[in-house]
Amino acid sequence: MSSQPRATGQAAVARTALDGIGAQARRSNQARVRQLSAALSSLAKGELSLLECQRSVEVAHQLVGSAGTFGYARVSELGRQLELFFSSGARGDAREVDAVARALVRMQQDLTLPAAEVAELS
């Protein structure tokens, strides 16, 4: 008997499990984007603390790994951009801050859609 059907069956089970975990990851990543948006608001008001900035580096770093793993490649790439921004102390000029704000909007938009749809759009 060929092992192919068993392998195919295992892959199907894995894909189903992956979808379930992916839905949970999407909610977590939406919360991370909201957290980063709040940090950017703090920055705009001149109230971004060192702690919030450091925490934002960690949150953006988690987004890089998680979003990409669950099919949101663009969110992952933008997350890297945000990780660099906050790890440099969020000291960018107005143009850079605007780019971060636009990246956050794009990330929010992507995460409202299932990963498969985002992949088709990008």
Binding site: Q24, E58, Q62, G65, S66
Partner: protein, 139 residues
Amino acid sequence: MTIAGAAAAETPTLPVRRVLVVDDDDSIREVAQMALEIVGGFVTTTASSGQQAWDIARAEVPDAVLLDVMMPGMDGPTVLSHFRSDPRTRDIPIIFLTAKILIGDPKSLDDLDIAGIIAKPFDPMKLPADVSRLLGWTS
């Protein structure tokens, strides 16, 4: 020897590989566990922090560890140094699972005494094959 016993003796049994998955991100930990168990056929244990990983490893001595680098508290490199300083865990191969950019720096790999690096994001369906390749595990 019984017929069944003779057949068993002739059929090589594959060793059950036990992998400890360490990541503070629930979803990453779960997807890695799922992939390693369902796709790879490994037995896994998980830990959500470096300290928990260290405690589990000393008790269970897994065959390998898939270790996140950037974690609050005890980070990956710190966990690695603990492993290497204890006779019970010294020889356990460790693979870093990281979104940090480390790949392409062989010197740092040598210094770290790890079996390899798997970059995040990763393809869950390919994770077991990547782990097996880095560890030289063949089916």
